[in-house]
C-alpha cells in the first residue's frame, strides 16, 4: 500500500517537473497543449498555465450559493485537473460572513489567498492579518479597495470600457434616439455605478438625442427589476432602452417587456448569465448581454497569485486565462480584456 502511494507521488512529482520544464523551455506561442475547453478554443495561450503549482493557494468567492461563483469553482477545478495542482476553493454560502470565513482559513499556512470581497471594509483587517502572516493577498472585483491591504488586484476589464460598450450597443439598437433607464443592484455598488456613469457619459457625448430618465436600485432581485420596469414604462411610455447592471436586472426587465407586448420595441442590454437570461436571448427580447467568465477570472487570480509568489508580476504579462493574455497595470490594479458578448450564436460556450 505504502509503496503504491509513494510511486504515485513520485509519478506526480515527475509529471510536475516535466510540465514546468516544458513551459520554461517553450514560450507561450509554442504551447499547443490547450485542453479541450469550449470557451477558450480561440485562446491557445490558456494552455500555458499547464504547470502545476506546489504553492498552497486558496480561492474564496463572495459567496458560494450562486451560479456565478459555481462557474468560478468549475474554473478552479479545471485548473487543478489540467495542471495537477491542488488549489483550494471555498467560501461562505451567503457572503455576509465571508470575513469570518477567511479569518478561520488563516489558521492554515497558505502561500496566497485569492478573494472576491463581499464587503471590502469588513475584509480589510483580515487581509492585514493575512499579510502580516506572510500570505500574498490577491483580490478580484475590488479595484477601489484600499490597495495597502492587498498585494494585487485583477479585474476582468476597466469598468469605464465595459460600461461604455453598453451605450455603443444601445446607440446602435435605438438609432441613437429616445429615453432610457439604468438599473443598478445598489447605488453603493462601485462597479455597477461606474458602468452606468461611463455609459451615460458616452451617451451625452455621442448620442445627444438620447435621454437618461434615471438610475434605479434593484437589490439584485429579479422581482424588483420586473416591477420597476412595468412601473417606469407605464409612467414613461416613450422609454426605448433599458440598461441593466446586476445579472438579474435585464432578466426581470425582459419578462416585463415581454408581458407588456414590447419585445423588440424596447432594447435591453446589460450584464447577465446564460443560465438566467438565455431564454430571452433565445426568443430575441434581449439581443445580447455582456459578461466575463468567472471560470477564467478564477484562473487569472491563481495565475496572478503564482506570479506574485514567484515575484514575476509585470505589466503586459499573461495570466494563462482567456481574456487575461496581456494584463494592464494601473497602480497595482491589473486589468484584463475579458468582456464576452453573449448572443444566440455563442451562448452554448458560456453555459453558466
Amino acid at each position: 500500500m505504502m509503496k503504491k502511494i509513494i510511486s504515485v507521488m513520485a509519478a506526480a512529482a515527475l509529471v510536475t517537473v516535466m510540465l514546468s520544464g516544458c513551459t520554461d523551455a517553450a514560450p507561450a506561442a509554442s504551447a499547443p497543449a490547450a485542453p479541450a475547453e469550449a470557451a477558450a478554443d480561440d485562446a491557445a495561450p490558456a494552455g500555458e498555465a499547464a504547470s502545476g503549482t506546489s504553492y498552497k493557494i486558496a480561492v474564496v468567492p463572495k459567496m458560494t450559493n450562486i451560479a456565478w461563483f459555481q462557474r468560478m469553482e468549475e474554473g478552479v477545478n479545471q485548473y487543478n485537473e489540467e495542471t495537477g495542482s491542488d488549489i483550494f476553493y471555498g467560501g461562505s454560502a451567503e457572503g455576509a460572513d465571508q470575513a469570518s470565513y477567511v479569518e478561520s482559513l488563516l489558521a492554515e499556512d497558505w502561500d496566497a489567498i485569492c478573494v472576491v470581497p463581499f464587503d471590502s471594509e469588513a475584509m480589510m483587517p483580515i487581509f492585514e492579518k493575512a499579510r502580516a502572516q506572510g500570505i500574498k493577498v490577491i483580490t478580484h472585483e475590488a479595484a477601489s479597495m484600499d490597495s495597502s491591504v492587498r498585494d494585487y488586484d485583477i479585474e476582468a476589464f476597466k469598468n469605464a470600457d465595459y460600461g461604455a460598450n453598453f451605450m455603443e450597443e444601445l446607440g446602435a439598437l435605438t438609432g441613437g434616439k429616445g429615453k432610457y433607464i439604468q438599473f443598478v443592484g445598489s447605488l453603493t455598488s462601485v462597479s455597477h455605478m461606474e458602468w452606468c456613469d461611463a455609459a451615460q457619459k458616452l451617451q451625452e457625448e455621442k448620442f445627444p438625442d438620447m435621454e437618461c430618465i434615471g438610475r434605479f436600485e434593484t437589490a439584485d432581485d429579479t422581482t424588483s427589476s420586473y416591477d420597476q420596469t412595468k412601473e417606469l414604462l407605464t409612467a414613461n411610455p416613450d422609454i426605448v432602452a433599458i440598461e441593466g447592471s446586476a445579472s438579474t436586472d435585464i432578466v426581470g426587465a425582459a419578462q416585463a417587456v415581454e408581458e407588456m407586448g414590447l419585445a423588440g420595441k424596447v432594447s435591453i442590454v446589460g450584464t447577465s448569465m446564460t443560465s438566467i437570461a438565455g431564454q430571452y436571448v433565445e426568443d430575441g427580447t434581449i439581443a445580447s448581454f455582456s459578461v466575463w467568465d468567472p471560470a477564467e477570472a478564477g484562473k487569472a487570480m491563481i495565475g496572478l497569485a503564482i506570479a506574485a509568489l514567484d515575484g514575476t508580476v509585470e505589466d503586459g504579462m499573461s495570466l494563462g486565462a482567456s481574456g487575461y493574455e496581456s494584463i494592464t497595470d494601473v497602480d497595482g490594479v491589473f486589468y484584463g480584456n475579458a468582456r464576452v458578448d453573449v448572443t444566440k450564436d455563442n451562448m452554448a460556450n458560456y453555459d453558466f
Binding site: N65, A67, E217, A235, V251, I276, G278
Partner: protein, 335 residues
C-alpha cells in the same frame, strides 16, 4: 349609541388604512396621471400575489400567539426541490407533481415548527429561526444552489393563462393578470370564513389572546398551534410554487428577507403582534398599502436612494397607528 358606533367604525384601523390608501393614490395620481388606469389595478394585483399569500400564513400564526420567520426559507426549499428534481433528476412535466412536492415540503416544515412550538414549547421566534436555518442550510448542503429559470411546459402553461389582459388605449401596452391571482383571493375568503365562523377559527383567536384561559375554556391549545404552523407551511409551499411560475425563477434565496415586510403588512393591517387580534380584511389592506407604496415611488418621483427610507417610514407610521389604536380600544374597554 348609533352615533358612537359610526364614529368607532370611521376611526377603526381599517378605515384609517383606507383613507391613507386613498390619499396616497390621489397624490401619486396627481403627480403621474398614468396612475389612474386599470393597468395600475392589474399591476398591484400581480405584484401583491406573493405578499398576500405569505401575509395570510403569517397572520394565522400571529393570531395564534406565535410568529413565523421561517416561511421564506421553507418557500425557497419548496420551489427549489421540485425544480431540482425536474431539471436534474427526472423530467416530470406535471404541474400536479410540482405543487404536490412543494406542498409536502411545506407540510413537513410546518409539522417541524408545530412540534418545536407546541410540544417542546420553544419560543416561536427561536423555533422558526432554527427551522429557517435547517431548511435553507439543508437544501444548500444537499442539493447545492442553482437558479432554475426554465419552467416545464405544464407550469409554463399556467404562466400563459391570464384571467384578463388589459391593453392601454394610448400606449398599446398590455397588462396581463395571471389566473394565479385567484389563489390568494380564494384563500383569503376561506381563511376569513374559518376564522369568523368555525370553532377552529375562534380557537386560534382564543389561544392567541390567552393560552391558559383558552385551555380552561376547553380548547386544545397544542392542536391549534400545530394547525396554525402546518397551515402556514402548506400555504407557503403553494405560494412559493406560484412565485416560481410567475417569476420563472427557483433559487435557494429568492424569498429570503421577505419576512420583515410580510410581518409589517400584517401589523399595519391591525394584526396584534402579541396574538389574538386581527382580520383578513385588515391584513389585505396592510398588504395593499405596502404594495402600493413599494410600487409607486418611482411614479411619485422619489429618488431611488430615498425609497428604502420612505418604505421604512411608512411601516413605522403604520405600526404606530395600530399600536395607538390598540391602546385606545383598551382604554375604551376600561371606561
Amino acid at each position: 349609541m348609533k352615533e358612537k358606533n359610526k364614529y368607532a367604525f370611521l376611526t377603526s384601523t381599517q378605515m384609517i388604512l383606507v383613507y391613507v390608501i386613498i390619499a396616497f393614490s390621489l397624490v401619486v395620481g396627481f403627480r403621474q396621471p398614468a396612475f389612474f388606469s386599470p393597468a395600475t389595478i392589474i399591476t398591484i394585483c400581480r405584484t401583491g400575489i406573493f405578499t398576500m399569500c405569505f401575509a395570510l400564513c403569517e397572520m394565522v400564526v400571529i393570531l395564534s400567539g406565535g410568529i413565523d420567520v421561517s416561511f421564506p426559507a421553507i418557500g425557497c426549499v419548496a420551489m427549489y426541490v421540485p425544480m431540482y428534481i425536474v431539471n436534474r433528476v427526472y423530467k416530470i412535466d406535471s404541474a400536479f407533481f410540482a405543487f404536490a412536492v412543494a406542498i409536502i415540503i411545506g407540510l413537513l416544515f410546518g409539522l417541524l415548527n408545530g412540534f418545536l412550538v407546541s410540544v417542546l414549547e420553544l419560543p416561536p421566534l427561536i423555533a422558526t429561526l432554527a427551522t429557517s436555518s435547517v431548511a435553507s442550510g439543508g437544501v444548500v448542503t444537499l442539493l447545492g444552489t442553482r437558479e432554475f429559470t426554465n419552467l416545464p411546459s405544464s407550469l409554463q402553461a399556467i404562466y400563459n393563462t391570464n384571467l384578463i389582459t388589459y391593453t392601454a388605449p394610448d400606449s398599446g401596452f398590455t397588462y396581463p393578470l395571471n389566473v394565479l391571482i385567484l389563489v390568494p383571493v380564494v384563500a383569503a375568503l376561506l381563511v376569513s370564513w374559518v376564522l369568523r365562523k368555525t370553532m377552529l377559527g375562534r380557537g386560534l383567536y382564543a389561544i392567541g389572546g390567552d393560552k391558559n384561559a383558552a385551555r380552561v375554556a376547553g380548547f386544545n391549545v397544542r392542536k391549534l398551534q400545530f394547525i396554525a404552523y402546518v397551515f402556514s407551511g402548506v400555504f407557503t409551499g403553494i405560494a412559493a410554487m406560484i412565485y416560481n411560475i410567475l417569476m420563472h425563477s427557483a433559487t435557494t434565496s429568492a424569498l429570503m428577507g421577505d419576512e420583515m415586510i410580510t410581518i409589517a403588512a400584517c401589523v399595519i393591517g391591525g394584526v396584534r403582534i402579541t396574538g389574538g387580534h386581527g382580520t383578513v380584511l385588515g391584513t389585505f389592506l396592510g398588504v395593499l398599502l405596502i404594495t402600493l407604496v413599494q410600487n409607486n415611488l418611482n411614479m411619485l418621483g422619489i429618488p431611488t436612494s430615498w425609497q428604502r427610507f420612505v418604505v421604512g417610514i411608512v411601516i413605522l407610521l403604520g405600526t404606530i397607528l395600530t399600536s395607538w389604536q390598540a391602546k385606545r380600544s383598551m382604554n375604551a374597554g376600561r371606561a
